[in-house]
């Protein structure tokens, strides 16, 4: 029998395709009200920390170096009030086999696919995750297909994404590229159905749990080196998995005093599904276009219940501008002798500003770096921006207009990190989770407390503002 492969037909088969392709019956974790049992899902479908360390270690993933940024710290102190200027460290995740921390997520996902007997893996990603899955698939002898949004309708591609396609192909993967639009998901579903391959989603419990080893390693490395845990762990935030997994790993290590801070490039005003805006972005990840919606509505991902739930762990969320991240990328090369990809330096740009608020004896760690290369490089990306009519000049980064200009700081003392109102994000998550219900239960309130890392009075006050009653 021929399957109906029209857009509507395939989209309507989404639940059954998903179930067959990730091997998880998400339904079993649903709670009676609006929530689901997150911890049970993570426990029953994930791996233990030691299992993950073994899985990752077997393919050379993890145990990346922890490096102190002495010169960046010294520079930050120059502009900080007396006694301020925390020590800045980075965890050099670019040292992973595929060049980013995504290798951790992919190692688990591909191991799991192999264990369940799938012949191949598919992932929908324009980011480093594609190369990570392709690299792992190569090691395990599985086939691999990566679907990526790469070009606008005029076939002009983002150089950074083109480089990622190249890397996937270098590992023997098939790369399917699309123009701008969420219909990529339709292609993804048809591929899963056609091939019967495993959905190596970024958002499964095993994928997210794969990042727990990063948080755990951080705690262990700091204890060995400094005799204590870092004060702040800064994570570049997009889909939320990096922050979620790292925070969970820190908790597993007992590092409950470390503050978890997210950082994104501010791309406010650029529409992520706009064909015209696509090539006016100089960042394809680590930005607010993913960071905001995935924080406030985590289940928008490609699985029914995302394991990436950043607001459960985030203490603070900082925004930086494109010009500041490019500036910091150059600073990392010129002062620390490390050439790393621009997007992964988002949290580093925020760290440079945040360090100036903190005491000299405190420690800030930026928990990832990513590889750099042709296309995926500060010079390639600034050139591409110029070709697309973006003006690049020195000035006050606060005046940057996304899609129109990139303002490089006139002076390093102008580097800033801007706080997002966390309570606004939390309120937005509550609204999305409730999705139109007029009354919820006590159990739902507890779910929302966990989802937002808040207490009962906060949830109750927010519900009152929305005219939602709590059933006793």
């Amino acid at each position: 029998m021929m399957r109906d492969n029209s857009y509507q037909a395939v989209m309507s088969r989404r639940p059954e395709i998903m179930k067959a392709s990730v091997g998880i019956d998400y339904h079993q974790f649903e709670l009676p009200g609006i929530g689901f049992d997150y911890e049970r899902m993570m426990k029953e479908t994930g791996y233990t920390l030691s299992e993950m360390q073994e899985i990752q270690g077997a393919t050379g993933v993890g145990n990346t170096p922890l490096l102190e940024m002495n010169n960046l710290t010294a520079l930050a102190r120059k502009y900080a009030p007396k006694g301020k200027g925390a020590r800045i460290f980075i965890k050099d995740e670019a040292a992973n086999p595929s060049g980013s921390f995504k290798a951790r997520r992919a190692a688990n996902a591909v191991h799991h696919a192999k264990k369940l007997g799938y012949k191949g893996v598919i992932a929908a990603t324009s980011g480093n995750y594609g190369a990570a899955v392709a690299s792992q698939a190569a090691m395990h002898g599985l086939k691999c297909i990566i679907v990526q949004e790469c070009y606008d309708s005029q076939y002009v591609g983002q150089p950074e994404i083109i480089e990622k396609a190249r890397k996937c192909e270098a590992y023997g993967a098939e790369v399917l590229q699309t123009s701008v639009g969420p219909e990529l998901f339709y292609i993804f579903l048809t591929l899963l159905e056609e091939t019967g391959y495993f959905n190596a989603s970024l958002y499964t419990p095993f994928g997210i749990a794969g990042v727990e080893t990063l948080g755990y390693e951080l705690a262990m490395q700091f204890r060995e080196r400094e005799g204590r845990d870092p004060d702040v762990v800064l994570c570049t935030n997009a889909g939320g998995g990096n922050l979620t997994g790292t925070a969970r790993g820190l908790i597993k290590a007992g590092a409950t005093e470390s503050k978890i801070v997210g950082a994104s490039v501010d791309l406010t005003g650029l529409h992520m599904a706009s064909d015209n805006h696509f090539n006016r972005k100089s960042f394809t990840t680590g930005h607010t276009g993913f960071g905001m919606p995935f924080a406030t509505s985590p289940d928008r991902s490609d699985v029914p219940r995302s394991a990436a739930r950043p607001l459960r762990y985030m203490d603070r969320y900082l925004l930086v501008n494109q010009g500041e991240v490019f500036y910091m990328t150059e600073a990392l090369a010129q002062l620390e002798g490390l050439e790393r990809g621009p997007a992964g330096n988002t949290a580093l740009a925020a760290a440079f500003a945040l360090a100036q608020e903190m005491n000299e004896d405190q420690i800030i760690v930026v928990q990832e770096t990513e590889y750099t290369g042709a296309g995926k490089h500060i010079q390639a990306q600034l050139t591409f921006a110029r070709e697309n009519g973006i003006r690049i000049f020195f000035g006050n980064p606060d005046e940057e207009v996304k899609g129109e200009n990139i303002i490089l700081p006139e002076h390093p003392s102008q580097m800033k990190a801007r706080d997002v109102d966390m309570n606004k994000l939390r309120a937005s998550l509550i609204k999305n989770a409730i999705a139109g219900a007029s009354a919820i239960t006590q159990e739902d309130v507890e779910y929302l407390m966990a989802e937002t890392k808040t207490d009962k009075p906060f949830i109750v006050a927010e519900l009152e503002k929305m005219n939602i009653t709590v059933k006793v």
Binding site: Y7, N71, A74, L75, K78, G120, K143, C144, I145, C150, Y151, S153, Y155, P159, I162, E163, R166, E169, G172, A173, E174, V175, L176, Q177, T178, S179, V180, G181, P182, E183, Y186, I187, E194, T195, H271, A273, S274, D275, N276, E330, A331, A333, Q334, L335, A374, G375, H377, I378, Q379, A380, Q381, L382, T383, F384, I392, F393, F394, L408, H411, P412
Partner: protein, 102 residues
């Protein structure tokens, strides 16, 4: 004529303008949703004709033949003078001002 077995790139219109997902911004609705794939031509074909290719994972995909033996041309961009200034500024800020010492 492009020979059977040649590695090529094809383009395919997945959804025409007008039949795209409802939640899209206007500019995106007005253009088709396109897909590109690479594979070995399964039969001799002319450029810009409708062909079938066998991808590296062995799938058969149909589309318009647009490029023969596709390769990557992305690079490190052109001269960006701002980067020279940033480097010099940062080194001066960190290590002091005398150019001759560097």
């Amino acid at each position: 004529m492009i020979q059977q077995g040649t590695w090529v790139k094809i383009q395919r219109q997945v959804l025409p303008a007008g039949q795209r997902a409802p939640q899209l911004p206007e500019d995106t609705k007005q253009v088709p949703f396109l897909m590109w794939a690479k594979g070995f031509l399964i039969a001799d074909a002319e450029m810009n004709s409708l062909v079938t290719v066998k991808t590296i994972t062995g799938r058969l995909v149909e589309g318009t033949l647009m490029e023969v033996e596709p390769s990557y041309q992305h690079n490190y961009g052109t001269f960006v003078p701002e980067l020279l200034r940033i480097g010099a500024d940062l080194r001066r800020e960190r290590w002091g001002g005398d150019d001759d010492e560097r």
